[in-house]
């Protein structure tokens, strides 16, 4: 038996196909035989190392359980559905899918609009002349005007205190940020929290760059840049005593 998994629309479709091969009415199929066929099929496909969608495996697990329920007599206090109930549920689902498939066939075979039956080829549309009566009052009009004029006013200028990083301050900040990091890290990422503030960006960059040169000169920090405008990388220089 060769079955192309790709040709099936899921495990129920595969089961329905297998059920049809029993050549009996769906209500009289042997569910046990069906479960075995399905499990056999999945086993075969897996031996061929074909990837199988999880749906198929879930169904296989369920059918294996169903098989065991059908073959082993159930205890009276067992609250799980009996093998017969499970088999009935499977039969019902197969019959329902089959019925829906059959129904879609019957639908499509009906005399369909645009294919078998036609509507008026030259409809005479109703031409609607719409007269719009606009609603607006003076208050809305004035509010609209005032709002626009206000929008047009340049934002109020208030001379603000300029934040400037002193060189000493920048050096302390940078020294603290680099800490004991021996990894190359871009200056920008050290300063990320400061660069986000537009008013601080320029001074933070300029002062910390100058301070970094000082740190390099002192031999506590190393710097490198692969090409112009590339990120400026720096790290703590491993001192002789550490190595």
């Amino acid at each position: 038996m060769y079955v192309d998994v790709g040709g099936y629309e899921g495990p129920l479709d595969l089961l329905l196909d297998l059920a049809r091969r029993q050549k009996v009415d769906l209500s009289r199929i042997s569910v046990l035989a069906l479960a075995e066929q399905y499990l056999g099929f999945i086993e075969k496909v897996r031996r061929q190392r074909i990837d199988i969608a999880a749906d198929y495996l879930v169904m296989a697990a369920w059918l294996a359980y169903l098989k065991s329920r059908l073959m082993v007599p159930q205890k009276a206090d067992d609250e799980e559905p009996t093998g017969e109930e499970m088999a009935a549920m499977l039969q019902f689902r197969l019959a329902r899918l089959d019925a829906m498939r059959e129904a879609s066939g019957r639908l499509m075979r009906r005399a369909r609009l645009g294919l078998d039956v036609f509507s008026r080829g030259m409809p005479e549309p109703v031409t609607v002349t719409r007269h719009s009566l606009w609603e607006a009052d003076l208050y809305q009009l004035l509010r609209a005007y005032a709002a626009q004029r206000e929008r047009g006013i340049p934002a109020e200028y208030a001379p603000s205190q300029r934040t400037v990083w002193a060189l000493q301050e920048a050096r302390e900040i940078l020294d603290r940020l680099i800490g004991q990091s021996f990894e190359w890290v871009a200056l920008d990422s050290y300063l990320a929290q400061y660069l986000a503030r537009p008013e601080e960006r320029t001074t933070a960059l300029a002062s910390s760059f100058t301070a970094s040169l000082e740190l390099v000169r002192l031999g506590t920090v190393e710097m490198r840049q692969s090409e112009p405008f590339a990120p400026l990388l720096m790290r703590r220089r491993a001192s002789e005593s550490d190595s």
């Binding site: 629309e9 129904a103 609009l113």
Partner: protein
């Protein structure tokens, strides 16, 4: 002129008006849309009946589509008029099955459709059906997760030549066989395809509701 003649003249005019308005439209027309054009107290149902009789057995007939009415060419002339080339892209099997599940089980959620088919449905499947104008989002089920419920449209009835959902082929047998339930059989109530506004366990879609979230996720995957 006697009052009787007046009346019959009025009825004749109403009939002409009804005929002209339904004939002019490509899509089915509702009686509410027609009423304003008729004389006061016109018996619109009787007029529709008269018009249907007038066209019975003709090449063009008056048909009911849900709550609306339309003129359509007669079914039996299909063999002459059939245009095969119009169906450029036939529906996939998944779409066909999904359509019949929505039609026979409505209102139905995506999870319920998947339960019947035993496989998950791709976003495209319902999309194709909604784009064809056959399936619509009806509302949301009053249950955890508030899943969207789907149903068919008036365009569905029109396309498949159904007067109402009760005309779905094989509906009675399926119902009798208990195959329209979404759970196990064994003698419990079998719901019929439900065409009405919203059922007790449905609530309206939110304004601008674009469907199941799961659904939207699919789109991006």
């Amino acid at each position: 002129m006697s009052a009787g003649e007046d009346r019959s003249e009025l009825a004749a005019r109403n009939l002409r008006v009804l005929e002209a308005l339904i004939f002019a439209s490509r899509d089915p027309v509702s009686l509410e849309d027609l009423r304003p054009y008729l004389s006061d107290n016109a018996d619109i149902d009787a007029l529709i009946g008269d018009l249907q009789t007038l066209y019975a057995g003709r090449g063009v007939i008056l048909v009911q589509r849900g709550s609306k009415w339309a003129f359509r060419t007669a079914d039996d002339l299909s063999f002459l008029l059939r245009r095969d080339e119009t169906e450029a892209r036939p529906l996939s099997r998944a779409a066909l099955e999904t359509l019949s599940i929505v039609a026979y089980h409505q209102p139905v959620t995506r999870a319920e459709i998947e339960e019947v088919r035993g496989v998950s449905i791709s976003k495209g499947t319902l999309d194709v059906l909604m784009e064809a104008g056959w399936v619509r989002m009806r509302g949301r089920r009053r249950s955890p997760g508030r899943p969207v419920t789907y149903g068919t449209t008036e365009g569905f009835l029109d396309h498949f030549g159904l007067e109402s959902l009760g005309d779905l082929p094989g509906l009675d047998e399926l119902k009798g066989a208990g195959l329209l339930s979404s759970r196990l059989p064994a003698g419990f109530q079998v719901p019929l395809p439900f065409d009405g506004a919203l059922r007790d366990d449905e609530e309206p879609l939110d304004a601008g509701d674009s469907g199941d979230t799961l659904f939207d996720d699919d789109e991006n995957s």
